[in-house]
């Protein structure tokens, strides 16, 4: 069995705000092994980014409260001091962010920004760090890296900036790469290139990846395991196969239905999940998805536990609906109205 890098146990994150306590993450657990890709999927406000940032300690602040454990190779990252955490950030865990346009400092050269990260963790002279920065840029597919290393971020295109961010995140050879919606701000062809790049580099650097997205289509290729989050909770979790071919949560159906697909009969229009994600200050009673769920019934007044309800072990969900009933109904949502006609 591959080395277990990360073990998150019942992580809860809340923030005190002027309007009340925002329960951003309410109990998420997962493990991550070297070489694996974990996909975390959900809408805005589902808690996926907060989860990712919490792993890096980036949500720490006077208003933030944490419960549970984030065990990285046995050390609880929630408990280590800010100073100690610096040794993990960038070194053991690398992170790339949603918007490459704003995530790089506009006033420093790309190369200097990578060098800065390397020198924060390793005692190497500037020249060594710089040649490593060039090598990294080459690895992430920046053409002519010897010259490009001198460029400023505004001289890079969006896709190239995200590649530079990836180079920076990988500069100290981290065991885990956390990618927080790395493709959202990019156009579709660049998205695919970035996903391929992450997938390839994961093998080159022998690391694990946590890939966060709101678009299940993006991680269809690379994820080994998928967690679907809603209102700070895990509502479905399973292997890629489980989630794509036997999804149990109507919410997951909605996410799948909102992806344009070429291998299905053409729907009139893509599925939309009605309504808005709930406020994290005043959550609805029972199943959190109930107000937006077209299949809700009385039992949904109580929140279902995250349990295994199907044959596949490790495929967990939070839905009271009968499994057979669901299998009959879900294609309507996933493939759109014209599925019946087909």
């Amino acid at each position: 069995m591959a080395e277990r890098l990360l073990e998150v146990n019942d992580l809860k994150v809340s923030f005190a705000t002027e309007d009340g306590i925002v329960q951003a993450v309410s109990g998420i657990s997962f493990g991550l092994e070297r070489g694996k890709v974990l996909g975390i999927v959900g809408e805005s406000g589902s808690g996926k980014s907060v989860t990712a940032m919490t792993l890096m300690g980036l949500t720490r602040g006077v208003n933030a409260r944490f419960e549970g454990e984030v065990l990285y190779k046995g050390t609880d990252l929630l408990k280590v001091s800010d100073a100690e955490l610096q040794n993990y950030r960038g070194n053991e865990l690398g992170m790339i962010f949603q918007d490459p346009m704003t995530s790089l400092n506009p006033v420093y050269r790309i190369g200097d920004q990578i060098v800065e990260g390397i020198q924060a963790h390793e005692k190497v002279d500037k020249r060594t760090a710089r040649s490593r920065a060039i090598e990294l840029l080459r690895q992430v597919g920046i053409p002519n890296p010897d010259a490009r290393v001198e460029n400023y971020p505004h001289e890079f295109s969006g896709g190239m900036r995200q590649r530079a961010m990836i180079a920076m995140a990988l500069s100290c050879n981290p065991s885990i790469l956390i990618a927080d919606e790395p493709t959202t701000a990019l156009d579709v062809t660049i998205q695919a290139q970035i996903v391929d790049l992450v997938s390839r580099l994961k093998d080159d650097f022998d690391s694990a990846v946590i890939f966060i997205t709101h678009d299940l289509g993006v991680i269809a290729e690379i994820a080994d395991e998928i967690i679907v989050m809603y209102a700070g909770r895990v509502v479905e979790r399973g292997s890629k196969r489980d989630v794509f071919y036997d999804p149990q949560m109507p919410y997951t159906w909605g996410l799948l239905g909102s992806i344009p697909r070429l291998d299905r009969p053409k729907a009139e229009r893509l599925h939309t999940i009605e309504g808005m994600p709930p406020s994290l200050i005043n959550l609805p009673e029972g199943c959190k998805f109930r107000p937006r769920c077209p299949h809700a019934f009385e039992k949904c007044q109580q929140e279902p536990a995250l349990e295994n309800r199907v044959e596949a072990p490790g495929h967990l969900d939070r839905c009271w609906l009968d499994v057979e009933f669901k299998r009959g109904r879900r294609d309507e949502t996933i493939s759109g109205g014209s599925a019946e006609a087909a």
Partner: protein
Amino acid sequence: MIPFIIRRLFGMLLVLLAVSFIVYLIFIVIPGGDPAIRIAGRTATAANIVAIKQKLGLDQNFIVQWWDMLKQLFTGQLISYYDGTNVVQQIKAGLPVTFSLAVGAGIIWLGFGILVGTIAAVTAGRTTDRLITAAALIGISMPVAWLGLLFRYFLSGEKGWPALFPDGGYVPLTQNPAQWFYHLLLPWFTLAILFIGFYGRVLRSNVLDTINEDFVRTAKAKGLTPTRILVKHTLRASLIPIVTLFGLDFAAVLGGGAIITETVYSLHGVGWYAAQSIQTQDLPPLMGVTLYGAMFIVVFSLLVDIAYAFLDPRIRLT
């Protein structure tokens, strides 16, 4: 960059011409502006006044008068109506004082402004921040003239307390550096306190905005130390607007803008000269001082633009 600078220099000339014209215009329009009447004195005859007007060229067309005055100014021949001294030489005589005041005060207000602004931002919402904010508001609100008088009254022996500082006056740097410093300490702080409060407030809010930038989060995610993040990423970005402020404020003080401070401490610099000339409604020195000050403003605004291009590589001067 070179074409940019050349174009700007042309623009600056036009600005200076416009400034001088407006000054001249104002002087003609205000009551009691006609220097011939005042020079002739109370018992003058009409013939006296005409003679003076002729001598000073005041009987000519308004535009010609203005142009003659500019020519005299730039050839160093402009003479005060009031006491007949050479304007350019008077301004030159005031330069060491004004420069000493501006450079010292500038260093103090920039340094302390950055210091208190950064401390306030880092401790935002806590007691230190509140104290600094309150102190800054007091500093901004105190009129310079009043503050200068308070300093002199309490610290320079006028109240009868031991005099910690000399009561005004200026000792040239070349003559006695220690005395130069000692004499200028109070004027420097008098002038700087307003700016310290103002710069501190501006920097505090800039830093608090920058802290939430994505690239600062990236810097954290790289595992940099908090000091490095603050200095290299947050402050670096937050200081860019301060450069603009400082360029223009510093230019104004260099250009004789510290009229009140120079007057309160009897520092005979360009600002003091301006104040004297205003009292006597003496047009030639006012024209000289105004153009001298305007020149610093336009030159420094060009320097600020050039500095921007170095501070932010996204800016291209075209």
